[in-house]
Amino acid sequence: MTASPVRINSKAQSQTQAKVLTLVTPKMSVAPRPFLQWLYAVAGHIVPPLVTLVFLLVLWEVICSSPTASVPPPSRVVSETWELIAHPFYVGQGVDQGLFWHVLASLKRVALGYCLAAIAGIALGTLVGQSEWAMRGLDPIFQVLRTVPPLAWLPLSLAAFKDGNPSAIFVIFITAIWPIIINTAVGIRNIPQDYQNVARVLRLNQFEYFTKIMVPAAAPYIFTGLRIGIGLSWLAIVAAEMLIGGVGIGFFIWDAWNSSRISDIILALIYVGVVGYLLDRTIAFVANTVTRNTASA
């Protein structure tokens, strides 16, 4: 009597084990549905920041909910700035424009100053990276000038250009150029000896060396400089525009402060942040596309 249940039990156990195996194996071998997997991956990236955002908004709402609070809660920000949110393309008189136009004006200044900085920065960086004497002559000056805060250049450029707009562009230029110069120079100085030897054995001339070896080899560094540069440009434009006036997101913020429209300031900050993020992502995307194949083998 005592022996049989044990025997049955062990038999049942082995049967169950076999059953489990046959059930599990096909489940594992079936490819997971791609759509579900994709959805899961997307959710994994979207849900955490969403949760954080909601948490922060609720916290902000709670902290600033008292009527005496100096900063409005998000609900009041939305209701007070609804006109601005709903009509970003509004066209009015003078500086009374929709937020899109303010941002566009700032972007135009940044684009011009930044492009000039990119051209001059890469050229100067190449010079400093390639020539020992250019480096000795220019590097100390660069190292001193790059520590000057962007806004400190503004009075000087106002004196030189006697106009707000070119001064702002100059401030962007002078802010963005240093990381571009320095990174380009480092990239060019770090071209592996191997590539240089290949170029020497092939007797590439200066131009061929520049286009076929130097630019592709230094591209990852150059793009690092460009990416830092765009970030700094966007930082500087807001500050510069506060001082020069006219249409632009920086002046919009300053104007809102002068008229005590705190909600407008908060909305503008969100705009500035999002645009800055998009600028950074754009340069990062270009960098990835261009330098995809330059990672060393």
Partner: protein
């Protein structure tokens, strides 16, 4: 007596840094006939790579001259193509483009566009890399990269092919495979080859002569060994060949008895 094809005459190399100077090579003289396969073997730090760089023109000798077909070598050039130890392929170009870059540069005048394409493919075929011609160096194995490096060097139609420890970074099986390929290419094209190695079997298998370097500083040629083995050589048959064994032990004796590497304290 006819002039030698390639000759190194009284090469001295002194590296100076700050106040101290180190003599790396001293009085290295060597003549190489056309079509010869020469290996230079020695312990690390004996300046054998420096010697190769001097022949390549990448490094300038302190004293002494290198002649190639009666002309003084004073700059790098495609007539002395180098296969570098770490392949040195340009990572942003495909396998095909890496070879094509050399072909376009060397034959920019003498070959038409179609001929240059043809020649690039011909050299890739020689190293059996046609199948991966559109891959980037990062997408192919170490042995394949080295084969592309060899194809690039061969495509320049060099007077002397310089191999700087070409198989040093590869595993033993890949290395054997590549050695066979190099032997086959050498049999086919009869190019003059100067190869740096630290592998005794590789040196005996591939070379007509083995140049053995003494230890640095002031390394010089200790001995030159003639490898009188008929070609084509097959590694399996050679394993029990008397000449092979004799050559092998001669090199081993030189390296490990008479010129043992003294460990730096």
């Amino acid at each position: 007596m006819s002039k030698p094809y390639l000759s190194l005459e009284q090469i001295d190399m002194v590296f100076s840094r700050g106040g101290t100077s180190t003599q790396v090579l001293s009085q290295v003289s060597l003549t190489v006939e056309k079509g010869e396969f020469i290996s230079i073997i020695g312990h690390s730090g004996c300046g054998k790579s420096t010697l190769l760089n001097i022949v390549a023109g990448l490094t300038e000798a302190t004293r002494g001259v290198v002649f190639l077909e009666g002309n003084v070598v004073d700059a790098p050039g495609p007539d002395r193509a180098v296969v570098f130890q770490n392949h040195s392929l340009l990572p942003w170009l495909t396998v095909y483009e890496n070879v094509k870059l050399a072909v376009d540069k060397v034959f920019s005048v003498t070959k038409s566009k179609a001929e240059r394409h043809e020649w690039t493919m011909r050299n890739l075929e020689l190293v059996q890399m046609i199948h991966a011609k559109d891959k980037r160096p990062s997408e192919v194995s170490g042995g394949m990269k080295q084969r592309v490096g060899i194809a690039r060097a061969l495509a320049m139609e060099p007077k002397v092919l310089l191999l700087d420890e070409p198989f040093g970074a590869l595993d033993a099986l890949t290395r054997a495979h590549l050695q066979d390929q190099v032997m086959q290419i050498h049999a086919e094209l009869a190019n003059t080859v100067l190869m740096i190695t630290h592998d005794v079997d590789e040196a005996v298998l591939l070379s007509d002569r083995i140049v053995m370097m003494t230890n640095g500083p002031s390394a010089k040629i200790g001995e030159i060994l003639d490898v009188r083995l008929v070609r084509p050589r097959r590694r399996i048959e050679l394993a029990s060949d008397a000449t092979y064994i004799r050559c092998r032990s001669a090199v081993l004796k030189f390296l490990y008895e008479r010129h043992r590497l003294v460990e730096a304290a």
